[in-house]
């Protein structure tokens, strides 16, 4: 059974009571061990792969060397035939015949190394996929665990500070009330600001020459002139 299924089975099974761990520490340990094992397998397979690939390269070099040697001796055989030395040509041909089984043996070895390397590459890929899957599951388990622990820390904090967790609707009402108070204050401040500015009623009245007027130089002069004339 996949771990995810186990977690959700536990959910349904009523392991949702506060403080009750959904996934016990033991299954986290098991999963962590599986991840470690998979990582070890990958490391070992990669090491083996390096060895096999090195051997494959050696084999390739050996094949090239033997092929070159055969080519070389074939050249010599042609030369001997050209010189009419049939006996030497046969001797050279025997040499070539002795190299050929070595070449075919080396080719067999090489293809067996190649096949082995392919298998190891496949294994590494498969194990890496498995490792990724285990890691993803471990993240899920650990996150479930963290969130539960965080939630119980928060609940404990409420209990310890003697504050009561309010119901959602009460909380919302209080937040809305605070928002309203804040908006009202803002509005009042705006009105106060308006009262101090040129757009206030007093300013408008003054501009229109209504209400109490402050004395200006011209009004003072008018007054003096009126007195003088009197």
């Amino acid at each position: 059974m996949s771990l995810m299924k186990k977690i959700f089975t536990a959910f349904r099974g009523g392991a949702r009571e506060a403080g009750e761990a959904i996934v016990d520490a033991n299954s986290i340990r098991i999963l962590e061990q599986e991840i470690k094992d998979a990582e070890n397998h990958i490391a070992k397979a990669k090491q083996d792969l390096t060895t096999i690939m090195a051997k494959e390269m050696q084999s390739n070099r050996e094949i090239d060397r033997l092929k070159k040697q055969i080519e070389e001796y074939e050249g010599y055989a042609v030369e001997a035939l050209n010189k009419g030395d049939e006996n030497l040509a046969i001797e050279i041909a025997e040499k070539i015949a002795s190299i050929e089984p070595e070449l075919s043996l080396q080719e067999e070895t090489k293809s067996s190394f190649s096949a082995h390397a392919e298998r190891l590459k496949e294994l590494v890929k498969k194990t890496e996929r498995q490792l990724g899957e285990h890691k993803r599951q471990l993240v899920m388990v650990k996150t479930t665990d963290s969130v539960q622990k965080a939630t119980s820390a928060i609940s404990d904090n409420f209990t310890n500070s003697n504050s009561k967790m309010m119901s959602a609707t009460d909380s919302l009402q209080r937040i809305k009330q605070k928002q309203k108070d804040f908006d009202d204050k803002l509005k009042a401040a705006e009105m106060l600001e308006e009262g101090n500015s040129d757009t206030s009623l007093e300013a408008k009245m003054k501009k229109a020459g209504i209400g109490e007027q402050t004395s200006s130089a011209s009004s003072v002069l008018d007054r003096i002139k009126a007195k003088k004339g009197a």
Binding site: V147, T151, A153, I154, S171, I175
Partner: protein, 137 residues
Amino acid sequence: MKIKQIAKALEELNSDAREGFDFEYQIIPGEEEVLQISLQNREEIPVYLTETDTQLLCISYLWDESEIKTESKTDMVEMMLDMNIPMPLSSFSRIGDKYAVFGALSLNSSAEDIAHEIVTLSDNAIDAIDVMSDFLK
């Protein structure tokens, strides 16, 4: 970043990055350290930030099982499913008997991104309670 560093980075942000809200911080000790962030005038529904191996989780708790009108539970759960994708940055969840909205962030998130997540989560929490208050006692 550790929880304390996150709190410090958030504190150093200017008011614009916090979208005009003042944040108040409290570290809740425990096996899993949690940072409580209270937004000004929304102290009743704080945002909790906790760090796991792979992500930063921001959670706001909405209500618990006992607050739900029994006959409305299916409707409520269906509405949560319907709202889950349209709701920006947050998703619904349940932890123990508590319903919650949460958002997950990368461990490499900037303080600005975290602040944006916190404010959005708080908006979503308040909207969710408002929208679903008919299902609650």
